[in-house]
């Protein structure tokens, strides 16, 4: 069994950091899978096979988004930066630079009238413990 997601000695990392690293690894794997399906689908001639792979690709989109949302909830600055970039119109690089600067200064990177609904979380972020240690 590999533990490549840990860049530092795992026993020195907190449980929270280990979970964060696992979710980063999950996110990477989902992104890889999306890329692989795109390639396979672009070459596959059989219609049924393509339909199945497209269905699988949809699952990977969902998994990637859930992983990303978990990580953003766990990282307020990342979340704040993402708000100024994700689902925004215009130049992606320009939005990114502006969002990074605004997040670092503590200002809201959200354009006026943008979607609300996220919840600032200053909790201990314990959440569900299903599937955890006994």
């Amino acid at each position: 069994m590999g533990f490549d997601q840990y860049h530092e000695p795992a026993e020195e990392l907190s449980a929270r950091t280990r979970t964060f690293a696992r979710m980063c690894a999950n996110l990477t794997e989902e992104a890889e899978a999306i890329g692989w399906y795109e390639q396979r689908i672009s070459l596959e001639a059989d219609e049924d096979s393509r339909a199945i792979m497209n269905d699988s690709l949809g699952e990977e989109y969902k998994h990637f988004c859930m992983d990303l949302e978990f990580l953003l909830r766990a990282t307020p600055l990342w979340r704040q930066t993402a708000r100024g970039i994700l689902f925004q119109e215009g130049d992606i690089v320009a939005n990114g630079e502006a969002s990074e600067a605004a997040a670092g200064s503590g200002q809201s990177p959200e354009p006026p009238g943008s979607a609300q609904g996220s919840v600032p979380d200053s909790s201990l972020r314990i959440g569900s413990l299903r599937g955890g240690d006994l």
Binding site: S14, V119, I126, S128
Partner: protein
């Protein structure tokens, strides 16, 4: 640092002090929050989230105009739970100097208290908060207690069989009160086979969790959708006030809990 209602930034506590307190609280809470290891968790939805939608209505006898009928939505209000504790400022100063043996006993007690309150609300209910517990909601008669703990696997097997016969699929999990947990962990069956391992096999390798606040034990289905915990503000550390010697803090959360499928659990009677 946040400036929300927890007022953490107002406390005379360094970043290193908050890190110490947060990690200690997380460590203590994750051990004791047995219910969260078995039930569905939704949220956190934020401190300003006040009620769970039940999807039901109740008729109103009166309406402003004779020709209309009215129904009021039914909701389950979230309950705020707070466990206060105090930390010596001298101890926090020692932590900043690198001390490794900081006295956090008061925090540890508060963590156990609030985790116990959550477990009790989930498994045994909390009438004043409008919460019905898993054990009390179950239509199955509790599996009777027997004096010999070597018979514990038979009781768990009977509980699992009862759930299966009711059409409740697994996997299954077992929440053990402190007394039962200690006995299960310490007992070996004839031949030296650990009771704990036997119980897990009966559950289909499902989790066996320590759940302070539980009387006896409860077997629950883990298939999902049966036991619904809704978190407003998840467990948090907040600041109340301080004096020259002591910082007064608290652990706090808001939540609701409801049982969607009462027959998906069965109690093992306690003392």
């Amino acid at each position: 640092m946040s400036t929300d209602h927890l007022l953490r930034s107002q406390a005379p506590i360094s970043d290193a002090g908050w890190e110490l307190l947060d990690q200690e609280a997380i460590g203590r809470l994750t051990v004791a929050l047995g219910a969260r290891k078995l039930i569905d968790f939704s949220g956190p939805h934020g401190w300003d989230y006040s009620a769970t939608n039940l999807g039901r209505t109740e008729g109103l006898a009166q309406a402003p105009v004779a020709g209309v009928r009215a129904h009021r939505r039914r909701v389950l209000p979230l309950t705020e739970v707070r466990a206060p504790f105090s930390i010596s400022r001298a101890e926090l100063a020692d932590n900043d100097r690198g001390a490794a043996d900081v006295d956090l006993d008061s925090l540890d007690v508060a963590a156990l208290e609030i985790a116990t309150a959550e477990n009790m609300a989930v498994f045994h209910g909390w009438t004043a908060a409008g919460i019905s517990g898993i054990a009390e909601s179950s239509p199955h008669p509790p599996v009777p207690r027997v004096p010999d703990f070597n018979d514990y696997p038979k009781r768990v097997a009977k509980a699992v069989a009862t759930l299966r016969q009711s059409g409740i699929s697994g996997p299954y999990g077992l929440a053990l009160g402190p007394d039962d947990y200690t006995s299960v962990m310490e007992t070996t069956e004839h031949g030296g086979y650990p009771l704990f391992d036997h119980v897990r096999k009966i559950l289909g390798e499902g989790p066996v969790v320590w759940a302070p606040g539980v009387s006896g034990a409860v077997v629950v289905s883990l298939r999902g959708g049966d036991f619904l915990f809704e978190s407003g503000q998840d467990l948090s550390l907040g600041y109340h006030h301080h004096d020259a010697e002591t910082v007064h803090l608290y652990l706090e959360e808001s939540f609701s809990f409801r049982v969607a499928t009462p027959e998906a659990a069965i109690a093992l009677a306690g003392e």
